[in-house]
Symmetry: C2
DNA sequence: TTGCTCCTCACGTCACGTGAGGTGGC
DNA sequence: TTGCTCCTCACGTCACGTGAGGTGGC
C-alpha cells in the first residue's frame, strides 16, 4: 500500500500552496496519484514529492510552466539538460540586463544627459550587402549580433570591399509594435552574391538629422529622445524609417562603453543640394 | 507654440510601444499633453519625453506601475529617493534569491539528497518568550529576522535566562495558503514581561518526528519532503502545527551554510512515556 | 483619393489568488 | 457531532498584447 497524502499534507511536504497544487493539476503538470471519484479529493503519493520539488525550483528561477512540463517529459537526460541550460542562459542574460538598467537608471536620475551635438546630413544612395528580416524587440540582441557577424563573414569570403561602417534601417512598426522589419547593411564597393540571408540591396538617399549616441544600446532611447525633441521643436520631421550607423560597434570592441551609434531621423531637405 | 508629437512619433522618441502608451494613458500614469476632442487623437509634448524615459527605466527594473506613479508624484526629492532606494533594495534581494535558487537547482539535479537521520522525540511543555503574528510568505525573511532580534534583545534587557535554542510554531495555513500564524519563541527559565510584540507563552508538549536540515532555508523544503515521506510511509501523522528549532541560525552566524534547523512533524506517541 | 495612422472595445495571456457556496472525513 | 479540510466555479490581478471594426489626417 503506497503511502498517500491529502493535498494539505502534500502542501506542507513540498511548500507549494494548495491553490498552486490545484493549478498544476488543472494544467496536467502534476496530477495527483489518485482522485476519489465521489468526493474529488486529491491524493498524492510520497514519490511525487521530488517532482514537486523540482517544479518549485524551476519556478523559483521563473521558468514558465509549459517549459517545466517539457523538462519533466524530456525523453532523455541530454534533452533535459539542454532545456535547463537554455533557461539558465536566459536567466543570466536577464541579470545582466537588470544590472545595466540599474546603472542606466542612476545615470538618468543624476541629471540631464550632456547636450549632444545635432547635425544635418545628406545621406547619398548606397549600394549595400544587407540582411532584412522581421524581428521582435525580445529577440533583437542575438539577432543583431548574428546578422552583423554573417554580413561581415560573407563580405570577407567574397572579397568585397566595404565603404563605410555597418548600419540599420528600422521600420516605424518596430518601435510602435515592438516588432517590425529591420535591415542590417554594410555599404559595399561592389555587388554581393546572395548567400544565406545576405543579399544586395540599394538604399535611397535621405536627409537626416543625426546624433551620435555614446555607450551601450541599453541607453539609446535617451539619444532618441534628444533627437526627437530637436526634430519636433523645429517641425522638421517627415515620414520614413529611422537609420542607425554603428560607427564603433560590437565588431570593433566588446567594451560597450566605447560604442558610438549614429541615429538618423528623416527630415525635410533643408540645406543646398550638393 | 509647444512642439507636439503624434503617438507614433512619441513611440519612436521613447521606445515605448503604442499599446503601452495607451495603457499608461488609461492608468493616468502618462497623460498626453493634448487630446483632440473630435478624433481622440493623442498629442504628446517633447517635454514629456524625459518622463517617459524615467518610466521606461523603472519598468526595466520591474517596478510596478503604481509605484512608478508614486515616484513621479513624490512631493520632494527625499521622498522620491526613498521610494527608489526601497525598490532597488528589493531588486537586490531578488537577485540574491535567484542565485540561491540556481545553486539549489543544481544541487537538486545532481542527485538525491544525502539521507538525513530521522528521530522521534518527546518535546516537553515549554515556557517561552514569544512573538505571534500572522505573516505572508512574501514577508517572511525580514519578519523572521526582526522577530528573532526583538526576542533576543528583550530577554537580554530583562535578564531572563534562555534554556534552549529559539524555535517557531507554524500553523498549517501558512503552508497551504502561504499566509498564516507564526510563533517565534525562545524557551525561558522565568517569565517575561510583555514588551513590544514579546509576550510570555507556554507551548504544549508534543511528540515529534524530527530531521535536522543543514544550510540555507532556501533548501528547507527538501528536508520537509524527506520528513513527510517518512511520516507518511509509516502512517504516523497527526494534526498539529509543525515546529522548527534553530539549532544554529542567524543569531549565531551569518554563514547560511552553517545553519542547522530542526524540523518537527507531529506524530502519534510511539515511545514509552518518560 | 489612397493607404497609413490612429481610435475604441472586448478579450487573451501568465501564474496563480480571492472568495462564494457547498460538501466530505475524522 | 463539530469544525476543519477539501471541492468547484467564477472572477480578479498585473502589464500589457491581440485583433476586430472603424475613422481621421496628410
Amino acid at each position: 500500500m503506497p503511502s498517500s497524502l491529502a493535498i494539505g499534507d502534500f502542501s506542507r511536504a513540498t511548500h507549494l500552496s494548495v491553490k498552486t497544487l490545484r493549478h498544476y493539476h488543472r494544467l496536467g503538470l502534476l496530477t495527483p496519484a489518485e482522485i476519489d471519484p465521489d468526493s474529488s479529493y486529491r491524493r498524492y503519493s510520497a514519490e511525487q514529492i521530488p517532482t514537486a520539488q523540482v517544479i518549485r525550483r524551476f519556478r523559483d528561477v521563473d521558468m514558465p510552466l509549459d517549459q517545466i512540463g517539457a523538462v519533466l517529459d524530456a525523453p532523455d537526460v541530454d534533452a533535459r539538460n539542454a532545456l535547463i541550460a537554455e533557461h539558465l542562459a536566459r536567466l543570466e542574460e536577464g541579470l545582466v540586463q537588470t544590472q545595466e538598467a540599474v546603472a542606466s537608471l542612476r545615470g538618468l536620475l543624476q541629471g540631464p544627459s550632456p547636450a549632444l551635438p545635432m547635425e544635418h546630413r545628406s545621406e547619398p544612395a548606397l549600394q549595400t550587402a544587407a540582411i532584412n528580416e522581421t524581428v521582435s524587440l525580445d529577440d533583437l540582441g542575438p539577432w543583431f549580433q548574428g546578422a552583423l557577424g554573417e554580413l561581415a563573414a560573407t563580405l570577407v569570403a567574397q572579397g568585397v570591399t566595404t565603404t563605410g561602417p555597418p548600419g540599420a534601417v528600422i521600420a516605424d512598426d518596430f518601435f510602435a509594435q515592438e516588432r517590425g522589419a529591420l535591415t542590417i547593411f554594410v555599404p559595399s564597393a561592389g555587388p554581393v552574391r546572395a548567400v544565406g540571408r545576405v543579399e544586395a540591396r540599394s538604399l535611397p538617399a535621405v536627409e537626416l538629422a543625426t546624433i551620435v549616441h555614446a555607450g551601450s544600446h541599453a541607453d539609446v532611447d535617451r539619444s532618441y529622445g534628444a533627437l526627437a525633441t530637436y526634430v519636433s521643436d523645429r517641425a522638421l520631421g517627415v515620414d520614413g524609417p529611422i537609420r542607425e550607423r554603428y560607427l564603433v560597434g560590437p565588431l570593433d570592441t566588446a567594451d560597450e562603453g566605447e560604442w558610438r551609434t549614429e541615429i538618423g531621423w528623416p527630415i525635410f531637405q533643408t540645406g543646398p543640394v550638393a
